[in-house]
Symmetry: C2
Subunit: 351 residues, 2 copies
């Protein structure tokens, strides 16, 4: 199964509605900027690489949505989309990376005709998607070298097919290891509040017939203490220059526990997740989401009405807790400052 998380169609941007999984596998066609914005904000499409792709497609789609494809109008629609979509979610840098690529391209082709600009934006968005496919497979292959022939792997949230074009980062490593014939068992943290682990990771792995055991986030400590985990692999939403990594809330506690129990802790992410402009994790903006994510389950209240809630969507794992960062350019070991900047320089040279 290569699950198409997001596709370009003539009718709009087709996504699998991740808020309805695993109960229903339903697809949405996003036909307007506001629908694209809403889909990103509501996590119908989520995962750092996938929201980058969705945003790029959103710019291309919106640019071509005017009644006539007159050049000035196309440019203004594209710029409007870039501005709007940049405000949807603050933490995953892939969003800004993809929008910046679209902006740079837009400047380059701004002298062309409206239809030509639209076609160029569409090509760029599709290239971002195709790149993600290739990049995730390289991450998988690179990461698989770290995985023993028999391994029990703990993961948090969903960094799988559903978080990317179709293959995944953390789960991409697992998929590549399984493809190489390794015997992998996965432990999936349910990942409160939105249960991406229970709803998405457990579902993806089950669809692929990879053994998976679901657990509450707070039970991961028991697993690690019992020696039942060989390594931890998570994705990332933004990696600062020094290797500090923003990822789904709960990643930081997991990294502390892994370190305490001598279990390797790997982050798998494309280089587009690396933000060299931020020196450390302290300055990564952390999205705080609605209290209802915590106080309600399936629309029903599970807490006293009007209770105060602390609901950060992400936390920061300090570089010192990370054994290696698995990228398409290879496995980067500490000190990350050097490894990350070298990898990024080399990848830019290839472009």
């Amino acid at each position: 199964m290569d699950l198409p998380t997001i596709q370009w169609t003539d009718k709009g941007i087709r996504i699998i509605d991740q808020t309805r999984l695993p109960r229903s596998r339903s697809y949405l066609i996003l036909k307007s900027l506001s629908e694209i914005e809403e889909a990103i904000r509501s996590l119908r499409v989520r995962g750092a690489p996938a929201i980058g792709i969705a945003a790029a497609m959103g710019v291309a789609w919106h640019a071509g949505s005017g009644p006539e494809n007159e050049r000035e109008r196309v440019l203004s629609l594209a710029r409007e989309a870039i501005e709007c979509l940049a405000l949807t979610r603050p933490t995953a840098v892939n969003l800004f990376w993809a929008l910046e690529r679209m902006r740079i391209l837009l400047e380059k082709v701004s002298g062309q005709s409206g239809p030509q600009i639209i076609a160029a934006l569409r090509r760029e968005a599709l290239e971002i998607l195709e790149e993600d496919r290739r990049v995730c497979r390289r991450i998988g292959q690179n990461g698989s070298a770290l995985i023993p022939s028999r391994a029990r792997i703990l993961t948090h949230c969903n960094a799988g097919s559903l978080a990317t074009a179709d293959y995944g980062t953390a789960l991409g490593v697992i998929y590549a290891a399984v493809e190489e014939g390794k015997h992998i068992e996965v432990f999936a943290d349910e990942t409160r509040p939105l249960l991406q682990g229970a709803r998405l990771t457990a579902w993806e792995l089950k669809e692929r017939n990879i053994p998976v055991t679901l657990l509450c986030d707070s039970a991961a400590g028991s697993l690690l203490a019992r020696g039942a985990v060989d390594c931890v692999i998570t994705g990332a939403d933004r990696i600062a220059a020094n290797g500090d990594t923003a990822n789904k809330v709960g990643t930081y506690p997991l990294s502390v526990l892994a370190r305490k129990h001598g279990v390797p802790f790997y982050v798998a992410a494309p280089l587009s997740t690396v933000d060299l402009s931020l020196s450390s994790g302290d300055v990564i903006p952390i999205e705080e989401r609605s209290p209802e994510e915590v106080t309600h389950m399936s629309g029903r209240p599970v807490a006293p009405e009007g209770i105060d809630v602390f609901n950060p969507a992400f936390d920061i794992t300090p570089a010192e807790n990370i054994s290696a960062i698995i990228t398409e350019a290879g496995i980067i070991r500490p000190p990350f400052l050097k490894g990350l900047s070298t990898a990024l320089k080399q990848s830019k040279r290839k472009d």
Copy 2:
């Protein structure tokens, strides 16, 4: 508000049904051994001290439930209740402690008439309840000495009024501190899978107008990393001779994080929670509960059907992560082996 978690009435054992809080404050009258068993197994009454009280009352109630209170029949019903109730839940030692008290009393009065035995069992059960009231207030007063005049306290699960006769252990410390005029803000982990933090702790604190903020268990790491917590206080289900403590799953990760960030980690519990027969936490039996607690929310599935689940109800916090154990006999500091056995010897001498 002193919330009566459990009461003896002529019609049966009256409990607040904790599975229905906070949506509904409804009471149940348990009228048979099987109803009492079910209530303990389903967590309608829960919390280590409260299930001890419920079990003791269950023995007294069942002993008097025969059609005639003939001596041999009363003895056999009491013994049946002791045996049955010992199988309801394995981890909290207060259950076995209370049943053992009932058994010892039963032996002592076994020569008396049926009605006299029933009356003696009832008096003992009510004495266990009354003792818990006094003990929790002493725990509160003792623990309050550890709390600064302004404090942000993180707690996990529910070790409050609802977990005891009416006052609480970890929350008893908070209640006592507030009664002494201290300015306390509480952070309550929601405590998956059964959300005792969201449903019970947040509700109790709100009822008492104590400021409380709810968070997902995995967000506690972010709070501690931000320096937003002055101390952590939890209850306990069983404390081994060396101080290793079984408590709700998620307590261990919290203790690791508290230690890492230099935040004191306190366990508040009556001496009836201490099990000197176990040398360390390694041998405390850990209850594993139904997968449905994790895979379903309010009866609706949130995970793929038939998924494997790891659902331990408790974990073990090693003594090295515990700054102090707050008991009715005072604050016990490491090394706990000596402090706990001395406190227990002194408390037995007083009996």
